[in-house]
Amino acid sequence: MTASRSVILGLVALPLVYFTAFFLVPLMTVFVASLTDAQQGGMTFSNYARILLDEYHWSVIAVTFRLGILTTLICIVLGYPLAWYLVRIVKWRTWRRICVILLVLPLFTSNIVRSFGWMVLLGRNGLVNETLQAGGLIERPIRFLGTETGILIGLVYILLPFVVLTIGNALAKVDHSLEQASADLGASSASTFWHVTFPLSIPGVVSGSIIVFALAVSAYVTPALLSGGRVTVLAVLVFQQYSSVFNFHYGGALAITLLVFTLLMIAIASLVSRLGAR
């Protein structure tokens, strides 16, 4: 590299200072506070003990991660066929373009607005219950709001486009000559799919899953609106501590717990995908 040190410094300095001051340092502040005793000061693990030795907190963690895992699985099951449709089945470019716009539109709309739409749809007299009743499928309205099912419907809805985009990108990159070769060698189209195309699309599935899972376990708005306060997830606990209780020590420990669990799951997912790719 011929560039002088000053050029590099000139390019790096501002972003580095900014991200240190307003990203790294604030996170460190939370971490330090989570390890500090609320009353006496001094280092302590009591804030974490309060979370990890308590049954209630584990049940909240369980709900959070159950919702995260289910959301991810359902997103893949619904997202894969849609991605396949957009990449492989749609031949008319304009229609594909419209579909992609429809897919991205929810991403460009606030979580509030989208969850609000579901509040209207899933209510006691909402369109979903009325349709199910009119169709004779149920006798009395099902309660969706304030249940894990309601939150799940909302989370899947909000995160589905991410999976479709990542899987779609992976499918678009698959080399057709490999599938051709498989067919020429006598494989059925199902067998070509399972042995050639699907494995090649796994990186897209994994990166989509990681995004969805990370966003699902840390989602605050959707659970807050669709739970009506009846179902508690980790993010809701964090918010309560910072917005109304103002206990930065216990709140910090909750925030770090959420962060660590999220990063841990992401690490496991990428490890599994790397092992699977071998």
Partner: protein, 262 residues
């Protein structure tokens, strides 16, 4: 062929599922009834009139728009030099530098919001516009970095070297050779950045007040207690804003990214 048909049906149904809540909101915002109704009872634009005449909504809209615009500008100013450094130079800690700038993408925004509140309260940076801006810049910068980086390819570098060899200085080379090549990345990154800031709740919610509010946070506060056609009208307005943003994105950089390159 039966499977193909099944996929087609499933895909169309999934697309319909994606559209449903948005259609419901737009429909409900047109109702003539005093309460939220879908299908709407009659058609009227009077709820939009109520919104436009309500200064708190207008103020929040303006705050959100200015906030998103400034956050995007700062993000571009931070991300483009960072991308140039990462793509063109070797320096110690390069990998750490790039993951530092990209990590807000996977970090829960709520955790970052809480962290900035706690840190900000120790230096007096709370519940004002600067506090909002500081946080928004952190979460939107990675979007610009991620769209600009892939455009700074090796072939690109030889063009820059040719420009330098022909006697152009660093600034001329940047503006005449590099910038035109990464322009589409900057535009699409900036649009994603703008939207991400414009719809954010998790970060803003810690630093908004009754007099300084962003539109999503204001909606969030209302929706938790009451739902009426006014809320639907505000929501529908943000959906229309999103439609405009997507059309701009489609026309400038093209959204045809799920097609196969054959």
């Amino acid at each position: 062929m039966a499977i193909r048909f099944l996929i087609r049906v499933l895909a169309i149904m999934t697309l319909a599922y994606l559209m449903l809540p948005l259609i419901v909101i737009i429909g409900a915002s047109l109702t003539t009834s005093e309460f939220l109704a879908f299908p709407p009872q009659g058609l009227t634009l009077r709820w939009y009139e109520v919104v436009v005449l309500d200064p708190t909504y207008v103020d929040s809209f303006v705050t959100s728009a200015i906030l998103a615009m400034l956050a995007t500008l700062v993000a571009v100013a931070l991300a483009v030099p960072a991308a140039l450094a990462i793509a063109r130079h070797d320096f110690p800690g390069k990998a750490a530098f790039s993951s530092l700038l990209l990590s807000p993408l996977v970090l829960p925004h709520l955790v970052l919001g809480a962290a900035l509140l706690q840190f900000g309260s120790s230096i007096g940076l709370v519940r004002n516009f600067s506090a909002l801006l500081v946080g928004h810049v952190v979460i939107v910068t990675p979007f610009v970095l991620r769209t600009v980086l892939p455009l700074l390819s090796r072939e690109q570098q030889t063009l820059e070297e040719a420009s330098r060899d022909l006697g152009a200085d660093a600034f001329t080379t940047f503006f005449l050779v590099t910038l035109p090549q990464i322009r589409s990345g900057i535009i699409s990154g900036a649009i994603f950045a703008f939207i991400t800031s414009f719809i954010n709740v998790e970060l803003s919610i810690f630093n908004t007040t009754a007099s300084l509010n962003t539109i999503p946070v204001q909606l969030f506060n209302y929706v938790q207690y009451s739902v009426d056609p006014t809320i639907a009208a505000v929501s529908a307005a943000t959906i229309l804003a999103a439609v405009v943003a997507i059309i701009v994105l489609d026309l400038t950089v093209g959204l045809d990214f799920l097609s196969e390159n054959e």
